[in-house]
């Protein structure tokens, strides 16, 4: 048996690694790199998709920051119908599972995009209620549990495929939001999306990112992401709702910490930009950890955090 195989909302994944939305285009882009294979990932999440095509934001869209980067792509995508008609038929579903990333500016748009993906070969839908880079919709839905639940309920009503809700770190109580989403029918969570940030060029006195603000990703956000995964896991573990932990993961050790904190699968995004073969290396590292610790399955690590007596003391400092 493949020790890295894991069940995620009924999907059989060959690896706990998920390649993240917005980092791998519509699933085929990274195969340009010799040695990269979609089979190294348990699942691949496609770029955020809206009902109508979107051109996205003005340049510059990306900027390196200490141990990370800012991005404000603005959900550039060709629209859900194009994705279903022109792109999905060209993906090789034997290689991995493909997950759509659903975006919208209204509850109705989220539901309509979900409904159209429901009638397609896509394996699951990730509801992106946490995109910081578009003015309307996006993160506005993600910051209020009541609105998040509305979006989830509307999407739930139109599909039986697994519904993953992508949570924003830019909110006060992520666990409360997760609870509202489970109650509204969420099958899984993606934790976390990017944190909002900004960069300014002192010479020109202008913001560097065309959209002024952007989403911060990469190793810089890893400790925050780890904590959010832990918080969401503590809230939803009794429901058995699995999590795709993400935020700055680049090595097998990083992946292990997220699994221990409670995520069933681990997302890799920004790390691919500098290490396109990261997924292969993380798989190898996880396999060797399981081997050296006498474990038969990666599932045994999920939520296996040994927190001693500390759990009841949430305050810091």
């Amino acid at each position: 048996m493949n020790p890295l195989a894991i069940d995620f909302c009924g999907l059989k994944l060959d690896s706990p690694i998920v390649l993240l939305s917005g980092c791998v285009g519509f699933g085929e882009e990274y195969t340009r790199v010799a040695g990269f294979s979609n089979t190294d990932a348990g699942a691949i999440v496609l770029k955020g998709t809206t009902l109508a095509p979107r051109l996205g934001n003005a340049p510059h869209r990306v900027w390196e920051t200490p141990a990370g980067m800012l991005n404000a792509i603005g959900l550039q995508n060709p629209g859900v119908d194009h994705v279903i008609r022109e792109i999905l038929p060209k993906l090789d579903f034997d290689e991995t599972r493909f997950i759509a990333n659903v975006c919208g500016s209204t509850v109705e748009e989220y539901a309509e995009v979900t409904r159209r993906f429901d009638d397609s070969p896509i394996d699951a839908m990730e509801i992106n209620i946490s995109c910081p880079n578009v003015r309307e919709g996006g993160v506005a839905f993600g910051n209020y549990p009541g609105m998040s639940a509305q979006v989830v309920a509307a999407c739930r009503a139109v599909t039986r495929k697994p519904l993953i809700v992508k949570l924003s770190p830019n909110q006060t109580d992520i666990a409360a939001n997760a609870r509202a989403c489970v109650d509204a029918g969420a099958d899984a969570f993606a934790v976390i999306n990017t944190l909002m940030g900004m960069a300014i060029d002192p010479e020109t006195r202008q913001p560097i990112i065309g959209n002024i603000q952007g989403g911060l990703s990469g190793p810089a956000i890893r400790p925050i992401a780890l904590l959010k995964v832990h918080q969401v896991y503590e809230e939803v573990r009794r429901d058995g709702t699995p999590i795709i932990g993400q935020g700055g993961i680049e090595t097998a050790d990083d992946a292990l910490t997220f699994l221990l904190a409670g995520s069933a699968t681990v997302g890799v995004g920004t790390a691919l930009f500098y290490d396109p073969l990261a997924a292969k290396k993380i798989n190898a590292g996880l396999a060797s950890y399981l081997d050296s610790h006498g474990l038969g399955s990666v599932a045994e690590l999920v939520g296996a955090l040994d927190s001693g007596d500390a759990l009841d003391v949430p305050a810091s400092g």
Binding site: Q76, E86, F273
Partner: protein, 313 residues
Amino acid sequence: MRYLDTDGYPWPSRTRRIPLTIRGTIFLEEAEILEHRAYPAEQYIVTVSAPEAARHATPGSFAHIRCDPGIPLRRPLSIMRAERASGRLQFLYKPVGAGLAALATREPGERISVLAPIGRGFEPDPARPRILAVGGGVGIPPIVFLAEDLRERAGLELMVMMGSEVPFPFDLVPATRAIDGVPETASQSLALFEQWGIESRLASGAGLAGCFDGFVTDLANGWLRASTKQELARTQIVSCGPEPMLRATAELAYAYDLPCQVAVEEYMACGVGGCAGCTLEVHGANGAAMKRVCVDGPVFDVRSIYAKPSIGS
């Protein structure tokens, strides 16, 4: 054959379909630095061993380079020379910030991660054998590559014009032939190009000896103005350089009604088409579209980027 419509990512279009052979076309190599030389005004030429990239590189393609293990994001650099036989790649660069400054400290014997070759390079129109190649500053490398690549192609007339505000990081020699429309002050050419039997002339606003005093596009304009109608009908322009230079090149292309391809720059993250971080607004028959500079470019038709200048401007 199965097709991947890469145009579908930035924007739907039914015109161009690219075969799935995009798979495995970019190589990740731990490239040993063979030689690393500093030139005046913080210019560097680095030669590395990257056999796969050297074998597959085409003029206009670039490498996405990890400058230093402590700086995660890669930096794009145009490939200046690619030698298939020896597996060598050469780059010319000028640090702007921390990344390339860190690269400048790396010594021969050390290894750097090179992701290459990337992008659609120059595709000169075979129907127009008279090629004016205009390069400026750190836009010179792809022009050198194109010239070297085309030098043995029969029937081509190549005229290379380069501009720089700092001393050229190349050996110069007196040009051997007078050229119509080129002032005598532009008396130097690149030694390498003389060896290859390619005409070249230089321009600089910094008062460099043997260079035309002014913009490289003004030098090019003189040459175009001296060309006959028949010559212009066989002429095309390829160009790479700073934005104002590309804009001026676009004006030449419109003024003389010449096809023109330019290589452009934009900030990049992945470099392989995955993030849509590097897009540029292009205009075609289907209206505006956002194209990725990394894999849809970096070479674009100048008319798709710059509108025709209005009269009087």
